[in-house]
Symmetry: C2
Subunit: 346 residues, 2 copies
C-alpha cells in the first residue's frame, strides 16, 4: 500500500487500525527519533528502537541490535515494525522486519527526499557487508509506505538535491516532457504540496517498473540508469576519503551514461546538453582526472549488476526509450568520461 | 522443483545444466563434506563451504562464515548454492543463499530422513538467535530439492527414527489408511527404493499443504501437529542438559496432542492407543514428571506460533480431519499430560 499524503499521522493511524497488530515497534535513527517520531501521535505507545545515523551504521551489528530490540519489546509474528527515517533506516529496518520470526509486517515512513522517491519503495532491503554496499538483504515490499513532503523542509539543501537526482532519473525513464519539466523546475523553492505532487509522479514511474519485474531479472535494471558510472564515482570518492552524497554521484553518472547513449544509441544531443547544464549548475563537478579512469573502470566491472567482468549499463535512445543490459567497452567508457569532463567544463 | 531419485548426481547435473550459473558453491557440514559431497561428481569443481555439525552451529556466526565463503569464491547473483546435509545445513545454507546479494539460486540435497521429509522442503530458512530456535530467517523455496534415500543407510538408528516421526505426522494429516500403513511398517528394515517411495508419499502431503499456504497464515499450521507439546518437551530436555532428537519429541508430542484431540474432538480412541503403542515401542518415554508441568506449560505459551500467551495446537477430529488454531487451557493440557504418562506406562 502506497499512500501520498502530508497527513502522515492520520494515514499511519488508519493503517494501524486496519489490522490487529499485537504490538508496534518503531525503528528510527538518532535524528528521526528526536525530530520525526514525536510528530507521529500514532506511535506514542510504540517501542522505540534507535540506531546510529549514516551509512556506516548500515551493518550487521545494527541489524542484530534491531532484532534484539524486537525481542525485548515482545514482538511476535503479529507485530508491526514502522521504519521512520532515510534509506539506511528503511533498508535495515525492512530487512530486520522481513527476517524476524521469518517476517513480520512493516511500514516505511521516509523522511528524506531520497528515501521518499527511491529507497522506501520497491522492496529492496539490506545492509552493507564485508565493505560492500547492500551485499546481504532480500526483496520484500513494505506492507505500507506513507510518502510525504512534510519532513523535507528541514532537510539540508545537499540532501534535497541528492534526492532530486533520482527524480530526474525517473523523469528520463518516463518521457521527454517529464525530463524537461524536472530540469526547468526551481526545486529548492517548491511549497509542500507541489513537492508532494512531484514526488508522487516520480514514485509512480519506479512503481510501474518494479511491479513488472520485482526481483530485478530484466526491466527493473532500467532503474540502474546513471548508477553504473554513478556508483563508481561514489566509491572512488569514498576510497579517496572525500565521500559525496549518493544523488550527486547519480547526477554525474546520468551525464556520463547519456554521453554513452548519444555515442551508441543517438540519444539527442539537445537533451544531453540540457542535462549537463542542469547538473553542472546544481551539483558542480566531481573531483576526477584522467588518472582516475583505471580505478573507475575497475569499480564498474565489479558492480553487483555486472556479469563476467563486463561493464553493464542501462542506456536510453531517447527519454522514455530504455535499453537495459548494454555492454560497454573500456575504451567507450573512457571516451565518455573524456566528453563528460569536457561538457562539465572540467 | 522437487525430484525424488537415488540417482542424485545425475539429477543434480541435469539441474545445473538447465540454467547458466556463473559458478557453484556447496554448503556442507564436517560430516557431509567428507561423506556425501565426494559422492557427487557434479560438485567436483564447486567451491566448498564447510560449517560445524549440530544445532549449536545454526547461528549468526556460521551464517557470516557462509556469506564470507560466498564472497571468497566470487559468487554473483547468477551463482548457485547447493546445500548438502541435514536440516541445519539446508536451513542455514538456504538463508545464506536467499540473502546473499538479495538472493541467489539454491538447491537442497538432504542427507538425513528428517531433512528429506521435512526441513529441505517448504521454504523455511533460518538460524537460531538469542537462544531461540529459528528466530530469524525467511520463507524461500529452494529452486531444486533432490530427495533420495541413498544417504540414509549409514544414518544412526536414532536419526532414522527421528525422521520417521515426521512421516507419521504427515500420515495422520493425510488419512487413517496412511497412518495405519506407517505404524505397521518395520521402517528399520526397508530397502532403499521402498524407503524412497514412502518418503515421496510423505513429502507430497507436506507439499500440498505448503502450496496452499506458503507463509503460514492458516492451513500450514497443520504441519505443527505434535509440535506444541513436542517443542516444549524438546526445550525442557535441552534446558535440563539431556537433549533429545527432535523427532522423538515430536513422537511424544503427537501422543499428547491426540489425547487432547480425543478429549475435545472425539479423535478415535483406537487410533490413539495404536499411536501410543507405536511410540512407546520405538521411542520409549520422556523423562517427565508432574513436577515439570509448570515449566512445560510456560514453554508452550511462549511458542512462536502462540498468540496472546495462550496455548495453541493443531488437533485432529480423526486422521485427515485437521483443526488448526485450537486454543487449549492449562488445565486441559495438564490433564492430557497425565493421560499421556498413563498411556505410556510411565
Amino acid at each position: 500500500m502506497l499512500i501520498f499524503t502530508n497527513a502522515v499521522n492520520e494515514a499511519l493511524q488508519q493503517f494501524m487500525s486496519s489490522k490487529t497488530f499485537s504490538n508496534v515497534a518503531v525503528v528510527a535513527d538518532a535524528n528521526t527519533a528526536r525530530l520525526a517520531v514525536p510528530q507521529l501521535d500514532a506511535l506514542r505507545d510504540a517501542a522505540l528502537i534507535t540506531i546510529g545515523t549514516g551509512d556506516k551504521c548500515k551493518n550487521l551489528e545494527t541489524l542484530v541490535h534491531v532484532w534484539q530490540g524486537l525481542e525485548r519489546c515482545g514482538a511476535t509474528r503479529q507485530s508491526l515494525v514502522v521504519n521512520v527515517g532515510g534509506g539506511v533506516v528503511t533498508d535495515l529496518g525492512g530487512m530486520a522486519a522481513a527476517t524476524f520470526k521469518r517476517g513480520v509486517a512493516f511500514a516505511n515512513v521516509p523522511t528524506t527526499l531520497l528515501s521518499a522517491v527511491d529507497a522506501s519503495v520497491g522492496g529492496k532491503t539490506g545492509i552493507n557487508f564485508n565493505g560492500l554496499k547492500n551485499e546481504v538483504g532480500l526483496f520484500r515490499e513494505a506492507d505500507c509506505v506513507i510518502i510525504s513532503s512534510r519532513f523535507l523542509e528541514t532537510l539540508p539543501l545537499a540532501e534535497l538535491k541528492s534526492g532530486y537526482a533520482e527524480m530526474v532519473k525517473h523523469g528520463m525513464l518516463k518521457s521527454h516532457d517529464e525530463f524537461a519539466r524536472l530540469i526547468a523546475a526551481d526545486f529548492t523553492c517548491l511549497d509542500r504540496e507541489q513537492l508532494l505532487s512531484m514526488i508522487e509522479t516520480s514514485v509512480r514511474v519506479k512503481q510501474e517498473i518494479v511491479s513488472q519485474d520485482p526481483h530485478e531479472h530484466g526491466l527493473r535494471r532500467a532503474l540502474n540508469l546513471g548508477h553504473t558510472a554513478g556508483h563508481a564515482i561514489e566509491s572512488h570518492a569514498m576510497t579517496a576519503g572525500n565521500p559525496i552524497p549518493h544523488g550527486y554521484a547519480v547526477a554525474w553518472g546520468l551525464v556520463v551514461e547519456m554521453v554513452l547513449s548519444h555515442m551508441t544509441l543517438n540519444f539527442p544531443s539537445s537533451d544531453l546538453y540540457a542535462l549537463a547544464h542542469f547538473v553542472r549548475k546544481n551539483y558542480g563537478v566531481p573531483d576526477i582526472t584522467c588518472q582516475d579512469y583505471t580505478s573507475l573502470l575497475q569499480l564498474m566491472r565489479h558492480d553487483k549488476k555486472s556479469e563476467r567482468g563486463e561493464i553493464n549499463c542501462t542506456l536510453l535512445s531517447s527519454c522514455g526509450e530504455i535499453r537495459t543490459g548494454q555492454t560497454v567497452t573500456g575504451e567507450a567508457m573512457q571516451e565518455a568520461l573524456d566528453i563528460f569532463r569536457d561538457l562539465m567544463g572540467m
